[in-house]
Symmetry: D2
Subunit: 137 residues, 4 copies
């Protein structure tokens, strides 16, 4: 299992009138998590783009466990989830560092689109197959 971690300070603009982080912002934290994973394991958005693909999110889920308040910091753990088909899947844990509580868990699924035609790639792209072999996932 391969995973990465990143710590994030909450922006004031990410809070809402309940005084906590607005629920939709967790998708930004997942994005930060993917980015950190990509840097750690050589699967960055721009690398994929250079190989000829966009990898849009086609599915996302968030389960909220505890709120995060302004002034608190979070840690996002991003775990790669293997799939047979031409997909990139991650699971996330968002920890409230300040309280030690698990704030949320979530999942995303990405597919490969040819960057010119924007058509769905049904077969695993070569570079991604090699990446999987190299990382034994």
């Amino acid at each position: 299992m391969i995973a990465s971690e990143i710590e994030i300070d909450i922006r004031f603009s990410e809070t809402d009138a309940m005084g906590v982080v607005w629920h939709g912002n967790y998708l930004k934290f997942f994005e930060d998590g993917r980015e950190a994973f990509g840097k750690a394991y050589g699967l960055e958005y721009l690398t994929i783009f250079d190989k000829g693909y966009f990898t849009p999110i086609v599915k996302s889920e968030i389960d909220h466990k505890a709120p995060v308040y302004y002034g608190q910091a979070i840690k996002v753990i991003t775990r790669y989830v293997a799939a047979k088909s031409a997909k990139i899947q991650f699971e996330y844990e968002v920890w409230n560092i300040t309280t030690g509580e698990l704030s949320a868990v979530g999942k995303t699924m990405q597919v490969f689109l040819d960057k010119e035609s924007r058509t769905l790639e049904l077969l695993t792209p070569d570079f991604y197959r090699l990446w999987k072999e190299k990382n034994k996932v």
Copy 2:
């Protein structure tokens, strides 16, 4: 089954570098959908707040079917989904009005928190039970 509809113009700031609406913004469209539903059926955020409750989102899901480009408009259909417990559940359809395509479907679940203590309300609040009876859901 009770539901509401709302049309939304895409903001330029809601697009991303792929030229389409950034996936996380669909949670804002779901929010607009809930708001429209609340106005239509008397279950607005501020009404609930006046009854003594916050109703934070504890679960959300988005399934993306087709992108939405800047300059296109969308329609959000928000459908109330009955639950026995003290929860508010909705299902959403986001239609691309310009292309006629279904762009995304999704779900959210909300719970009731006492607005002073911020503790979870395990029993269905009276006002919500009455609302459900009145709307036969």
Copy 3:
């Protein structure tokens, strides 16, 4: 003087932990204002793009006069401000419809970039000169 008006419902996600609309979101309201102006006067973003230009914002200012709370609605008045050079300038007023108060005023300036080369257009593009003549501005 040519101007347009648009009414906007505040999203819950646009509020912050002070319980009011986060200051930066006014730039989204200005964007909505420009969009409404563009529709009313034939100067839409996509029209300009079809003529071969991007028109990025190079300058923006916001003066806040009074907060806007969740549950309140706003009206944005967008006024075209003439300039001799190859620029698009607007002034904005954001009114809190619920309270009748002026919430903010602001300004933006846009320039023309060739959409292929992304270089600055120093001369007023033909289509824009014609638009100005037609609208006597």
Copy 4:
């Protein structure tokens, strides 16, 4: 002159359909800059809140010099600007670390509101006067 610096990775969600950082997001970078300044000099949002005040932004300006693309990183320099009256003023420089170019400059002005009554504080609060003396500004 007292100032602080912070480096920020651009989020994909912060880009727009022109492929660059959406102009309004610079106000989030200024927020990150103020936060970094607050941590460095003991003038954090929550410290001010504990002293009994909100400090909303009442004025902001952004001058854009050069775009920032996804995959690039920025540095925000936040400089305190002294004022005689009960205000907090900052000037910002946003540098594109990847290209070495100055991307934007800007300013913000904040006032003090009593956190209970939300009325404007016309006199410099004691804690802020002491902070200014200590920092010789």
